[in-house]
Amino acid sequence: MNSARLVPALTRGAVALVGTLAVGLIAILAAGLDPVTTLEAIIDGAVGTPYAIRQSLTEAVPVTLTALGVAVAFRAGLFNLGGEGQIYIGALGAVGISLLFPELTPVLLIPFALAVGMLGGLVWGGLAGVLRAKLRLSEIITTIMLNFIAFWIVSYLVHGPLKDPGGSGYPLTREITESAQLPVFGDMVPSGAVLMLVAAFCVWLLLERTSTGIKIKGAGSSASASRFAGVSMSRVTILVMAVAGALAGLGGAVSLQGDQHQVGDFFSPGWGFDAVAVALIGRGTATGTLITGIAVGALRSGIQSAQGTAQVPSSIAQILLAAAVLFVIVGNAEGAGQLVRRSWIRTRGLASD
């Protein structure tokens, strides 16, 4: 990267980081906490022990997988706000297979359940793609609406047909058997994290090393040039939304099989929406999204743990995430960049006076 591109990139990063930290500091002070102990507690809770790392990764996996899909859609100029619904459908598919075939050997059952979860998400995302490509319905609207449909389908099922009869009355499915559960490597690395890395690598390959990737990015940057080049916008739209859905569906399946082991009303704490923020902060690249996703997972997990050790309210994680998105957008804005440059020039002018 030459300096002409590096300097604005650094400026953007600095704006995002400084702004986010400032907001975080204000939030911590406003909660009447000591910033130093709070920070220590958060870091300790995020990466202090092998268990903390495992928790951080577990927290990071579904949101990162979903965010990778959102990133692919971003590059094609599409907004996948349907991560939430795709996660629910993915989890539903995986829990269905896991409960139907508990006798299968794990070597077969685990990938089978994951694949069906992915397929569910693919259909759910692909549906929005088809509606956009064939009927010109905005994917922003349809994905949000499909979220509601997915959520209420799952809600109905866990309150009724799929409700665990032996449970304590909560709207939850039965727990899946051990034969469907994802293993953890060395007490620290959940296998979902490995899947997350593989998925990020595949997304990187797709976007950076295939002609399909060139088409996706081309479709995102100019519809008229793509039409001229003979790239079918509807094919790209359907493909991209299906890929986004599949990744979110995988996220739901992994969270089920690797962490929660049963599906309930509140299976996802809003990963589908956090994923949009993560992909935005990651600027739609595979690496950027992966790094941001892991950081967000660690932050969430760290704050959750600090809630117990230092009475840090968990809402601070959400505040920080929102602030980060805001400042990334501000940092990317042409006007904001000029503002920073101008004030810098003025400051230098003052110094030399």
Binding site: T210, K217, R227
Partner: protein
């Protein structure tokens, strides 16, 4: 001589590009003053500064001896400066009268408009129905609406930014007539152009800009056209290289038979177009913009299916892009709008050099190093500066952008080249290179179809020349058999039709 407008020491830079470097300009009252220069010489920037659209880094402006510093067009109009842009800035969805009311002239009703502009129309008759929607009017009338609007505001200086680019020869004559009447009243006209003949016809004095610097101001007649051209480009332009021999074609490469195209509102866009382009010839189609160029180009590009008729490439019927892509021999397609159709303006050049119908043929993983090498080779071969495969087209000049399009389209060794306005907006040097490239392709036995609104270009490179108007194609004939005025008449034949209809 009293200077009505005096701009001194104007400096304006955009990032690292210096658009105006210490430019000074004096305009006398009652003159048509031409501002001459190649594309990118800084003419429009200088005038945008005068009109308050751009704030200069340094320099002063005086109007009628009073120092002014317009920060927006309203300031400029108050100071007595009006400007009409190349593409008139009137609101298409509103009527003529409503557009006048936006500028505070009348309340949008025809009567109030006529009252507000009564003094002006004595000099320049508007001859437009005040209730007509602007987007139903031809460019020449939109321009006139803007000129009248400026004059009604009482401006003393009228800036016209390349007003003739969108006009037919007849309309140009009419515009010049209007300009003369404006200066007779003691007002001044600043006329931006890069056409020498127009300078000689209408201007009393001319200021030449080159690469942002003021080369000098001259009285027209003091210099010959050739000398002016030399001032403008800063080098002896190679004698116009009209290709010596007229080529006649071999086998038919592209054949259109009875091609019709119908618009969304059922209007006829193309009417029974027959066209053959043979190996080893350039067929050039002239015409005023909006006479069917776009649908004809889209059909030749495979982007539009004709509503009737056939398109044949090497004996193979082709009507859609799918067929173009599948066609064994690739067809090079140079679109008119390189920024939006030809290129992904922010994607790296190496991706742009792949972005075409044969992209699908590239299966499997991309070898990045080999792609970059291929791109660098192509960029060097086509003289793109700088040949950096990672740079986006947005960082290149128009000429270099066009070379990237050419590099991509010609890299598949096509036997047919279709180009629309291939040199529009390019400076003279880049125009030369692009035209030479097309001539070389012809000499190498390729079939070339050029659809262009630039008559000079058509006359220079066409072996056979046809004229498009009202969707009908005047069958291409050998260049030796036509002259400029004949083509001009064919292009304007349309206007006579229109007048007849209007009168009837």
């Amino acid at each position: 001589m009293t200077a009505l407008v005096k701009m001194s020491g104007i400096v304006k830079s955009f990032g690292e590009t210096i658009a105006n470097d210490d430019v000074s300009l004096e305009i006398a009252a009652g003159e048509v003053h031409a501002l001459l220069g190649e594309n990118g010489a800084g003419k429009t920037t200088l005038m945008n500064i005068l009109y308050g659209l751009t704030i200069p880094d340094e320099g002063t402006i005086e109007v009628g001896g009073v120092s002014v510093a317009p920060r927006n067009p309203a300031d400029a109009i108050d100071a007595g400066i009006g400007m009409v842009h190349q593409h008139p800035l009137v609101v298409g969805a509103l009527t003529v009268a409503e557009n006048f009311s936006l500028g505070g002239l009348g309340d949008g009703s025809p009567a109030s408009m006529l009252e507000a502009i009564a003094g002006v129309v004595e000099t320049i008759p508007l001859n437009v129905d005040p209730r007509a929607r602007i987007d139903s009017l031809p460019m020449s009338l939109r321009q006139r609406v803007e000129i009248v609007r400026c004059l009604a505001h009482g401006v003393k200086v009228l800036v016209l930014d390349e007003p003739t680019a969108v006009l037919t020869p007849d309309e140009v004559a009419q515009l010049f007539d209007e300009m003369r009447r404006v200066v007779e009243q003691g007002r001044s006209v600043i006329f931006i152009t890069h056409k020498l003949a127009e300078v000689q016809t209408i201007a009393q004095r001319v200021t030449v800009l080159r690469r942002g610097c003021n080369v000098g101001s001259f009285a027209v007649g003091e210099l010959t056209s050739a000398e002016l051209a030399e001032q403008m480009v800063g080098r002896e332009i190679a004698k116009r290289a009209v290709s010596q021999e007229v080529h006649s074609g071999g086998a038919v490469r592209l054949g259109l038979k009875g091609v019709d195209a119908v618009g969304d509102d059922g209007e006829c866009l193309l009417d029974g177009v027959d066209l053959e382009v043979c190996a080893g010839e350039i067929v050039a189609i002239a015409g005023v913009e909006g006479n069917g160029q776009r649908p004809l180009a889209d059909i030749c590009f495979g982007l539009r299916t004709p509503d009737s008729g056939t398109v044949v490439h090497d004996g193979q019927p082709l009507t859609r892009l799918k067929h173009w892509g599948r066609s064994k021999v690739a067809i090079a397609r140079i679109p008119e709008d390189r920024r939006h159709e030809g290129l992904l303006i922010d994607a790296p050049l190496w991706e742009n050099l792949r972005y075409g119908p044969n992209l699908a043929a590239k299966r499997g993983l991309i070898n990045r190093r080999r792609e970059l090498e291929r791109a660098r080779k192509l960029l060097e071969e086509f003289g793109v500066v700088p040949p950096d495969p990672m740079a986006p087209p947005s960082s290149l000049s128009g000429g270099n952008q066009q070379k990237v399009v050419l590099a991509r389209e010609l890299s598949s060794d096509p036997d047919l080249v279709v180009a629309v306005n291939p040199t529009r907006g390019l400076d003279i040097g880049a125009q030369r290179e692009v035209r030479d490239r097309l001539l070389a392709l012809r000499s190498a036995g390729k079939a070339v179809l050029v659809i262009s609104t630039d008559l000079d270009e058509v006359m220079e490179i066409g072996d056979r020349i046809g004229v498009l108007y009202r969707g009908r194609l005047e069958a291409p004939v050998a260049r030796a058999a036509v002259d400029r005025s004949l083509i001009g008449e064919a292009m304007a034949g349309l206007l006579d039709d229109q007048r007849e209809k209007a009168g009837a």
